[in-house]
């Protein structure tokens, strides 16, 4: 087991790893050649842009959770949590534990829709007592602490000079377009936003694995990807929580080590995986992003945080460029070319470009998720690496 190990690339030579402190200098460079590789790189929250989301005090929901639950730090005195999905509930609960007041949890999905999607095939929920109870527990914590929970609402603007000072909360219609009217202003000093998750698939792409249309790594019943000897488990194959990730990881590890997916030792994992996946797809359907969220953007709303590219700039590049290629439009606008390598804005840039281009089609190869360097390395480190090889 190698800890503090950062995989920065996978190619025909093997798996390239830097061992040492994150963002360190002069770390040890290693290259592993392995008979099988299991990828479990996880996911991070997707955050849709909102006017003012680049102000200090705005966090991704997972970021708020990591600081509050992981480090016991209160990110503000009065915080709102907004977006979509059941993950908003544990985030709010952790904020309370860390000593923040929670001014509201705003779920963009509307109650009627959530109810219909949550209660399709109700018998499947019977296999799910733990998951349902977990969500119920968060719900009752919020109710006990009198935290306001509203559906069909979103934070559609964040206000402040040098940091968050207030938010506008608007009611949404079924397509997530804000309803006419001014919305409600709440004074807060921090905001957590989460709209589901984006899988971290750069290593899977580098290894040549096929993705599905939602950008998750495709796997078979044995957790095998489209590339023989490369397996995937956890959130890069679909969002389903920690228990599902553990089941998938157990199966992937067993098969990668030479076992068979139908071996009887995996009976429990196979059954749990099936039940948990059904639950996950129920959540996915209930909390899909509404198409009209773009109605809350302004011309000067930042889309790409790293390169500070706003909505107007993106539009003007589309209008003045002849190109329909994603790569070329990114190069011209600089959107998605900053230090996060489009991890935060990539999906959004792609979506906004598609909507702005009259044909609604981007041409050419290229995935927004393709990143040749999967984790930061310094040029000096590559130059100095003697790349000593380890047979796996």
């Amino acid at each position: 087991m190698v800890t503090s190990a950062h995989v920065w690339s996978i190619d025909s030579d093997g798996v390239h790893v830097m061992v040492g402190e994150a963002d360190g200098e002069g770390r040890e460079s290693r290259c592993y050649r392995a008979a099988a590789v299991v990828l479990a790189t996880g996911a991070h929250d997707r955050v849709l842009p909102v006017p003012g989301w680049d102000l200090p005090g705005v966090y991704s929901a997972g970021g708020g959770q990591a600081l509050a639950k992981g480090e016991g730090v209160a990110i503000g005195r009065r915080v709102v949590v907004a977006g979509t999905g059941p993950f908003l509930l544990p985030v709010a609960s952790s904020l309370l534990d860390a000593g923040c007041a929670v001014a509201g949890v705003f779920e963009a999905g509307r109650a009627g829709h959530l109810m219909r999607r949550w209660t399709v095939r109700p018998w499947e929920l019977l296999g799910q007592p733990a998951k349902v109870l977990e969500l119920g527990r968060y719900g009752s914590t919020l109710a006990r602490r009198r935290v306001r929970y509203a559906t069909g609402c979103a934070v559609t603007a964040i206000h402040g000079g040098q940091r968050v000072e207030a938010v506008t909360v608007s009611r949404l219609d079924a397509s997530w377009a804000p309803r006419p009217g001014v919305g409600e202003t709440l004074d807060v000093d921090a905001v957590c936003l989460g709209f589901g998750f984006s899988p971290r698939v750069e290593l899977a792409l580098a290894a040549g694995c096929r993705l599905d249309d939602r950008h998750f790594v495709m796997v078979d019943a044995q957790q095998r990807t489209s590339v023989p000897s490369v397996f995937a488990a956890g959130e890069i194959t679909g969002i389903g929580g920690v228990d599902l990730a553990l089941c998938e990881g157990t199966i992937a590890g067993h098969v990668a080590a030479g076992g068979r997916g139908d071996d009887s030792v995996l009976r429990v994992e196979r059954r749990r995986r099936k039940v948990l996946r059904a639950f996950a797809s129920r959540l996915q359907g209930a909390h899909a992003i509404g198409p009209k969220w773009t109605d809350w953007l302004n011309d000067d709303t930042v889309v790409c945080r790293c390169e500070e590219v706003d909505v107007a700039r993106l539009r003007s590049v589309v209008e003045t460029s002849e190109s329909l290629s994603l790569r070329s439009l990114m190069l011209q606008s600089r959107a998605g070319l900053g230090s996060c390598q489009a991890r935060i804005c990539g999906r959004t840039v792609e979506e906004l470009l598609l909507r702005t281009i009259p044909s609604h089609r981007l041409v050419g190869e290229g995935s927004i998720d393709r990143r040749p360097i999967a984790s930061p390395v310094r040029l000096g480190e590559i130059a100095q690496s003697r790349a000593f090889e380890v047979e796996g």
Partner: protein, 109 residues
């Protein structure tokens, strides 16, 4: 209260206090804490200025993805504050530009 630290529970906020230097000022932090958490706990919400619009930035994702939280640590540039675990005597420079830091300006826990 910003930065109020909850009592330690199941390994959450690790306890041993240490001192680090941020732009020449001493800040109390905890062994094992991320630098981003230490800065927020000390009442600092932003510690970088963007190059174009010169807007303040601090942490956003707190999990190493967004690169908003970059600082200079012990002379080393481009360190993600959320990924750096503080050690006693760390010298942090918040931003290569002036006025990089925004404090919450209020009482602290």
């Amino acid at each position: 209260m910003i930065g109020h630290r909850v009592p330690d529970r199941d390994g959450a906020a690790v306890s041993t206090p240490i001192t680090i230097s941020v732009d020449g000022e001493p800040i109390e932090a905890r062994v094992g804490q991320s630098l981003a958490a230490a800065l927020i706990a000390a009442g600092t919400v932003a510690w970088r200025t963007t190059p174009r619009a010169r807007r303040p930035r601090g942490a956003f994702c707190a999990m190493g993805v967004c690169f908003d939280c970059l600082v200079v640590v012990n002379g080393r540039h481009d360190v993600r504050a959320c990924q750096h675990r503080v050690a006693a005597g760390d010298v942090v420079e918040s931003s290569p530009w002036p006025d990089g830091r925004v404090s919450d300006g209020g009482d602290r826990g």
